[in-house]
Chain length 210, copies 4
DNA sequence: ACTATCGGGACAGCCCGTTGTT
DNA sequence: AACAACGGGCTGTCCCGATAGT
């Protein structure tokens, strides 16, 4: 498993370029819509080399989504939740980080893993399961923040942290979908605000959305 | 533009079978993942006939998503919002209908238009715009219900009906994505409950999720 | 199943040309050594058309060996064994026909089915089984001639018609192999003579080989 | 030129493993059906090493068939024909040895050289000629036994030793082909018996086949 | 209206062999 | 001696769509 940072350091250069190209192209075009030839062209690498490093297109996709997931790991580490003493404030920190991340140019206001998952879940279980594991890992982080918050302060309205984490995950993925469709990332910001407001309300705090 | 009901009545039989097959296959496999040959095989029609009725694969896709959207129209008509006097209760009626619809077997707990949109928005503007128009139409219905509710009763927390409609749309699409990925439609129900609770709260009503 | 004669009449012309090209090329180069591109080039047909008529290279091979086997059927019918009253003389007639057939230019002094069988029996059971069935069919004809001869005249040395038919089959196939290797079809004639002499001897007749 | 025995002693170990793997794989799959990568994988050697020891796939094939031919040399030496005083009995000794050899598990009831020859004779003259030389060498041994027998005892029916040697060679190769096809080595035993009976008859001896 | 035939081009995957480094 | 990295080219397969005929 490689983090995006590791792509250029721990991998042979060409291999790293291939993974980067795969991420870039599959974000736009999905798995089936991206051809090996395209990846090679973008990475300026021959197909012979491609199949030296990867057994199949599916394999590079596995590597690509691992790299993508490791991108999160970096973001979440940089968020330094431990440095925030109040468990409830940590949740706000999470939304802060998401806002900051998704304000970047369109290419990042999207999730490779969700994109792939929506395309292949019904037809390629290996890839689908991999996506599920990674995305559930992400939801697990959210869930943990919620559990800690519940422990620190009993919510006004009781809730299942798993459900709410799934709610946030779904909302984020759906926001990417709609943003891509409308070609306008605004909806992501709005939706994050509403989600944050909803969580606040669960804890009895009043926070106006937006 | 054809409703699903119209498929068998107003279209030649073979054409209708082709559209049904296209819907069925593209729901699982997406646009690119579904070949004309597959559609023909499933519809028991020759490829010659296919290109007699449709100029291209893209065209049948346009017809298919129109048919899908008309399916909604039927559902929303059947919901008979006008028969519900209280505008706030109409919103509950909407969630009721969605719950009922998405409780059916997996094949329906999904949205053809969202599936296609997420796949082609970045590469096929014509299809992408079509999806956007239809999905925004759906969101428009939600928006109208919210506007009416606001008019009937000032919300406790002010909100932009457009934003909240987009929020619901995103959540529904994201729920489909996650449900497909996890192969478990449960998340849809949970998320609808949370969304409903959120809207209730905007109007100052207290409704426990689930 | 198509006879070679039928190739040009009952099949679409291009399909027939493809089968003929496949036979011609695979006789020289075997199954793996012959590419679809080569077949198309020789038949002056595009690859698109090839895959309109045949699902795979393997399928055209099945058709090709069927066509080849039907070539025998024609030869054996032309031999008119029924017109030869003496069952023992029928065996001589068989060898006559084989001699005549294998005296033709090199391309025919070989057996497509044996060539394919030796190449794929260990790796492609479908093709292997098909070859076996056809070749065993051929051996069955020999066997029947031997059975009839035994019934007409008790042999001097008893023998199992199945074994001797297998012996003749093996010898013919081995002769083709050696002839191809030596680039000299002479060995086929010699070996047929020895085989014929051996059969004669079983029936107590003395016939000098050659 | 290496005997199989020499493979492990006179060659670097890795080179020997490569040759053994090549023999093993090509026996089943032929020359074209066996890839360099497969050979390397089976021999647990990297491709870099392969091309350090062999210039090309063709070269390792030459070495492999030489090794195979040297296997015979060992067998024929072990047969110790000189120790059998009667030249006619030596021929029986030959069939004895063949019977014994081909009774082993299927992997040996086959001839690498014949397999390769039938595949490449028409397309690769270098390999084809090499196979021919080796196989004709084998036939030469048979021929010599026949010449000696003729010298010791005039045959009842005169014959050309070259022809009969070619007959035996063809029969053996054809038997391998049919045995492989039928996945049943029995035919080899039967055919050897018939061949032996035929030779006996040439010398006026009566020996029932089987 | 409906279909068989056919074509150009792209696809993923694998091939054999070279290069340069350790 | 051994090997990782790499490349150019080909393979079988499939795709979408056009054409000509019934």
């Amino acid at each position: 498993m490689y983090s995006i940072a590791e792509i250029s350091t721990e991998m042979p250069e060409k291999k790293g370029r291939l993974v980067e190209a795969a991420i870039h192209l599959m974000l736009r075009q999905g798995f089936g819509g991206t051809s090996v030839d395209q990846i090679c062209a973008e990475a300026q690498v021959t197909k012979g080399s491609f199949f030296h490093y990867f057994e199949s297109k599916e394999e590079i996709c596995h590597v690509a989504i691992d790299a993508w997931a490791n991108g999160w790991v970096g973001l979440l580490q940089a968020a330094q939740f431990e440095a925030v003493p109040d468990p409830l404030a940590r949740i706000d920190r999470l939304f802060e980080v998401m806002h900051a991340t998704y304000l970047r140019p369109e290419s990042v206001a999207s999730c490779l893993i969700g994109t792939i998952a929506s395309e292949v879940s019904a037809t390629n279980r290996r890839l689908g399961d991999h996506c599920e594991k990674l995305l559930d890992g992400w939801a697990g982080v959210v869930r943990r923040l919620l559990v800690d918050a519940k422990a620190a302060q009993p919510p006004e309205i009781d809730f299942d942290p798993d459900q709410v984490a799934g709610f946030v995950l779904s909302l984020v993925q759906g926001s990417f979908l709609v943003a891509k469709m409308r070609q306008d990332p605004q909806v992501i910001q709005h939706n994050l605000n509403h989600a944050q407001a909803y969580v606040h309300r669960l804890f009895g705090r009043s926070r106006p959305p937006g």
